[in-house]
């Protein structure tokens, strides 16, 4: 889980500085990273806020943008079901792309494993957001540093490592094509729709392979 915490660093810095650039106070910017704890949702909502979008349209966009968590939660559901409410709530709060990927690397992720991984992501997220917040006034344009490439690398490496059979290859290729087409038309739910279509294609081939 350590390499993944490292990957959180540039995103945290970006999210922190973006919050200040969007006009949030230091307390609000810290609060946003500590409470929302979702990189893509924070960056998208802040850029919408800057362009003057309404609160409702921001919330709807974020709802679809983070709807991949439905799928994460569904795949973890059987493990999480017998846990106490407190444990379920804490893992719910800590559930991110990175935590899901980390959990998927284990056959049967335990609560301690998920809490440890989730909490280490959370701590580095808040700390490096804070760094971005403090840097925001000093470094004028963090976007020229290409910080977001690190998330591309981590997700791409993990996606490749998670491909176990032919069906998964077909699924990933379908998702890739779909997400580029849908992003071209600037659909808010491009990620979800593309992910879903790839899963559908993979499941079709999975049945053929049986």
């Amino acid at each position: 889980m350590l390499p993944l915490s490292v990957a959180v660093i540039p995103w945290g810095i970006l999210a922190g500085s973006a919050a200040i650039n969007a006009g949030l106070s230091v307390m609000q910017a810290v609060g946003m990273s500590a409470l929302v704890f979702a990189g893509a949702a924070q960056l998208v909502s802040l850029s919408m806020l800057m362009t003057g979008a309404s609160l409702l349209s921001i919330l709807i966009t974020v709802f679809f943008l983070t709807s991949q968590h439905f799928i994460y939660a569904l795949s973890l559901r059987e493990e999480v079901k017998p846990w106490s409410l407190k444990r379920r709530l804490s893992i719910g709060f800590l559930l991110t792309d990175e935590l899901y990927a980390t959990a998927m690397l284990k056959e049967k992720p335990s609560y301690a494993y998920m809490l440890g991984a989730g909490f280490s992501f959370y701590v580095s997220w808040v700390l490096f957001s804070l760094m971005g917040i403090l840097l925001a006034n000093k470094v004028p344009d963090l976007s020229t540093l290409h910080l977001e490439f690190s998330i591309v690398v981590v997700l791409l490496v993990m996606a490749v490592m998670l491909i176990q059979n032919k069906a998964a290859i077909y699924g990933v290729v379908s998702s890739s094509i779909m997400v580029l087409i849908l992003s071209w038309f600037e659909l808010g739910s491009a990620i979800l729709l593309a992910g879903f279509s790839g899963m559908w294609v993979a499941a079709l081939f999975d049945r053929v392979e049986d």
Partner: protein, 105 residues
């Protein structure tokens, strides 16, 4: 107003994260759906990262004049070749930043 923005975002993301972790949320998944879930992680991951490679603020970044494209190709190849998580991440980041330094994209 800004606090309302922060807190309502918190509610939306937490709702999405927790909804299906709650056992009382009634769902009966057909067999095909559980088969689809097996492939959720890799499909969603490429769907999240490819727009970052090819788009910036809704604008197409191109292919051959786009350092993210070369970086992603390198990442793909090095992962297939080494099958090692941390090594692939480090080499890919090194390649990408080296490329940007050398060719000034």
């Amino acid at each position: 107003m800004t606090w309302l923005f922060v807190l309502s975002l918190t509610c939306v993301t937490f709702f999405n994260q927790y909804l299906f972790l709650e056992p009382k949320t009634q769902i009966r998944l057909p067999k095909f759906a559980t088969r689809m879930l097996k492939y959720a992680a890799p499909c969603l991951m490429v769907s999240i990262c490819l727009p970052l490679v090819f788009f910036e603020g809704g604008h197409w970044k191109g292919i051959f004049e786009n350092s993210y494209f070369y970086g992603a190709i390198f990442t793909l190849l090095i992962t297939l070749l080494t099958k090692k998580l941390l090594l692939s991440i480090l080499l890919s980041l090194g390649f990408f930043y080296g490329l940007n330094l050398l060719f000034d994209f």
